[in-house]
Symmetry: C2
Subunit: 217 residues, 2 copies
């Protein structure tokens, strides 16, 4: 049936294909209702093959979430690295958290976070992914703040306090974005987060953000 009956097929490629399919399904139906049959269908294969690559459903889904988080972070790093000012980097970070790109499925990351949080209390693997992701994110904010203060761009507030507060604020706004609360449209979350950050750190809130074009320059 396959044009490539057996034997070949790049190994890791299949895995990634399945991880991406799993993410699609999780976003569409939620973690709990994601069946391995769905993932198989999305990849044009059989359930048996899915567990051939991932021993269990849970491993597949956990790995998919980790994959997503890593991808997201990598994209952030890529976007940020040529921005010279700390204020600019912070603005980009906030934009990534608040402004959904015009992507295939727009709210994917946000929805994923909701599942990630809800799963963490009872799923050690998922909890580990979240803990790492959260820590990485906070460290990122912290280092922007410190570098901005060193450069004299930012006021000398306590970096840890600011970091925790901003990341919590962004998480909370992410909930509103994911749930598409009509009272809190994405652009507004960006404005509010920026106002908070610029107010605390004492820099001028830049004009409008140039909207995110996904990967590719």
């Amino acid at each position: 049936m396959r044009e490539n009956g057996g034997g070949s097929r790049d190994a890791g490629e299949r895995r990634e294909q399945m991880l991406r399919a799993a993410l699609d399904v999780i976003v569409e139906r939620g973690y709990a209702d994601t069946r391995i049959a769905d993932v198989a269908e999305h990849t044009g294969t059989s359930p048996a093959l899915v567990i051939y690559y991932f021993k269990t459903r849970d491993q597949l889904l956990t790995e998919a979430i980790r994959y997503s988080e890593d991808t997201w972070y990598a994209e952030y790093v890529q976007r940020i690295e040529q921005i010279p000012t700390a204020a600019g980097r912070l603005a980009e970070l906030i934009a990534m958290n608040c402004l959904p790109g015009t992507d295939p499925e727009p709210n994917s990351y946000w929805l994923l976070w909701l599942d990630l949080w809800a799963l963490s209390p009872r799923n050690a693997g998922v909890a580990a992914v979240r803990a790492k992701s959260d820590e990485r994110w906070r460290e990122t904010i912290r280092s922007i703040v410190l570098s901005g203060q060193e450069a004299g761009e930012f006021a000398p507030v306590d970096a840890d306090d600011f970091t925790i507060t901003l990341s919590a604020l962004l998480d909370g706004l992410a909930v509103q974005i994911a749930l598409e609360d009509p009272a809190v449209p994405p652009q507004r979350t960006y404005d509010l987060a920026m106002r908070f950050a610029s107010g605390q750190l004492g820099f001028d809130a830049k004009p409008v953000p140039k909207r995110a074009r996904k990967r590719g320059s």
Copy 2:
């Protein structure tokens, strides 16, 4: 087998008993893994009886979550009503969001919120509960701000902006509390939220909060 084989038993009492049992189970195992049999066991009855009272599992669980949100809000109202100053009311509101009581299961509400958020995108009933709860909560904050400004306690910031920002901040902090992130202990979330609020509204952050004793003055 039951000392009360059939017949009597206050009607609504059984329902509430089941709702509370459902909440216990949801907190313990998560919404997705909450089975009718668990709820039956917690109430010392049979699965069939649970279905007798709630037509479907989904109805039971949705109603349980609504029940929890209403209870939580009612408790807030009760605590707040004799506090004279707007600053005091705001502090109590923040305390309720940030400081887990020394209750039976400490983090129950927070964990419930995570499930509530994760469920909302794909479950209309749950989404309605959340929307209402969120709206009610924001309206509460807004009215505290407005009354505080009228009384001259608070600076004349934009009430809507402040409300959305604070409620998002509290949601984000709730995630950290629910997940028991070691970097963000509950007391710290309270301090940070209070610092934000007092900074924005320009009132003195009161000393330590008298810790929450649950219901009963």
